[in-house]
Amino acid sequence: MSQARAHLLRPALGLAGVVVLFGVWEGAVRWGWIQSGFLPAPSSLGPAWLDEVRSGAWVQAIRDSLTHYLTGLVAGSVMGTLVGLLCGALPVLDGLLSGIVRVLRPIPGLAWVPFAILWFGLNTAGATFIIAISVFWINFYAAYGAVRAIDPDLYEVAAAFGHGGFWARLRTVVLPAASPGVLDGLRTGIGQAWMSVVAAELFGVPGIGARMMQASSLLATDLVVVYMLTMALLYAVTDTLFMLVRRRLLGWQG
């Protein structure tokens, strides 16, 4: 198979899979294999979505969630990457924090909800906190691992050519060498943060998650699916934007 065709084949197959899924799904509901109360037919999603857009709730929910998402993502990514890089580069700090990391690491972001409510309340800050925590660990480990995986000979090369101090090493070796790993962590965080958005809003902070909870308590399953697909779309957009930036930054990797 030619490379160009192989290149086109995968997205085409992916699209075909989605079309088949929706087709089977629509058929299953139409022909009564699945009751529409259990699972709304795809054809009913359009009207439900339009109603939601007309009332302004859709845009408002996206706006609220995006605010939580972006602030949580940025805060968690920056903190996680920074602490991860420093721990990777400074053995003393690494040793100092290793015990704390072991204690805190297994606690999932959701477990912090009581404290998020207590410390910040049912508001943007509380939701942001939950999201930031889950993103923090992903980026912490990505950055830490990336620094630890650097070929130590490169430090020797840098030192031999006059880049020997801590800051010079950081600039000429650590940051560029760790960047692929750090960017992979950021990407994982970009996905994980959307999951945390729903979790963080389920408790009543306005946004997509809260709107989904309202819809499900009214048994408006079509609306729940509309918001599921909304999140999938938002994830696809953020991930694609990120990959464009990544490719530009890492041309040397090929």
């Binding site: 070929d151 050519f161 006059g162 560029p176 990797q253 090929g254």
Partner: protein, 269 residues
């Protein structure tokens, strides 16, 4: 960097002095190098020969100041630094930074020498020209062959115009023709600049071709087991042949027949 006294490097002045160098990776339980004494003078082209794993690369690292010696002292006498570095090293397997273009890899040692961007660019390009890779300047290292990467490593060291150039098997990965071309080029640069070179190889012919002094590193822990002034080039004739035979035995860890004339004669019969 090793302790560095600056002063003019007149021909014949000591460029680097090693006094009783010992190196241990396990806090003195075992030594890789021990009791290494060595003086290299300005203008010398010294080849360092020894079996694989004996400690040649380690010795270069110590001289470069990348590893502190466990015992003894390294002193480097260099010109006052101005747009050049006291010492530079060609690493055994190139060790380019994959995120820098070929040219920016060569510029690594020029950063921090007070040169502006244009001057760095010009010097890096001149060095790449010398190793025949000017047309690859804007490629990434991964787009080069192993031998080409090695040549970039040579350019990176040459471009900082070091007083002492340390080369760790720089031409090991090259085909015979490229290797011969670069050997000629290196001799040429050496003759022009009167720099000082310490060149690691395990090829005796390469050492005889390039160097005017050959040092044998041997033993566990390794020490200097032979130090030969091979005199003016070309290195051929009976006297050089005899020296080469001695070097071979020293490298192999056999007793030195040259140290004992009777033994030497007896073994010839």
């Amino acid at each position: 960097m090793a302790p560095c006294e600056t002063g003019p490097a007149s021909p014949g002045a000591v460029v680097v002095r090693l006094e009783n160098i010992g190196l241990s990776h396990d806090h003195g339980r075992s030594f890789i190098l021990r009791h290494v004494d060595l003086e290299i003078r300005a203008g010398e082209f010294v080849a360092l020969l020894g079996p694989s794993g004996v400690g040649k690369s380690t010795l270069l690292r110590v001289i470069m100041g990348l590893v502190p010696p466990s015992e003894g002292q390294v002193t480097l006498h260099a010109r006052p630094a101005q747009a050049h570095r006291p010492a530079a090293m060609v690493f055994q397997d190139a060790k380019l930074m994959p995120w820098r273009s070929v040219r920016r890899n060569v510029e690594l040692g020029l950063e921090g020498l007070g040169l502006n961007r244009a001057a760095r660019h010009a010097r890096a390009m001149a060095a790449l020209e010398l190793v025949g890779l000017a047309d690859r300047a804007e490629r990434w290292p991964r787009q080069l062959s192993g031998g080409q990467r090695q040549r970039v490593g040579v350019a990176r060291a040459l471009t900082v115009e070091p007083d002492l150039l340390l080369m760790d098997e720089p031409f090991g990965a090259l085909d015979a023709i490229t290797r011969a071309g670069l050997q000629r080029e290196l001799l040429d640069i050496h003759a022009r600049r009167q720099g000082t070179v310490l060149f690691v190889t395990h090829d005796l012919d390469e050492a005889l071709l390039l160097a005017d002094r050959i040092i044998i590193l041997q033993g566990h822990p390794a020490g200097v087991k032979g130090d030969f002034m091979v005199g003016p080039r070309p290195h051929e004739g009976a006297a050089v042949q005899a020296m080469a035979a001695r070097m071979k035995r020293l490298i192999a860890g056999e007793p030195d027949p040259g140290a004992d004339a009777a033994y030497w004669q007896a073994s010839e019969i």
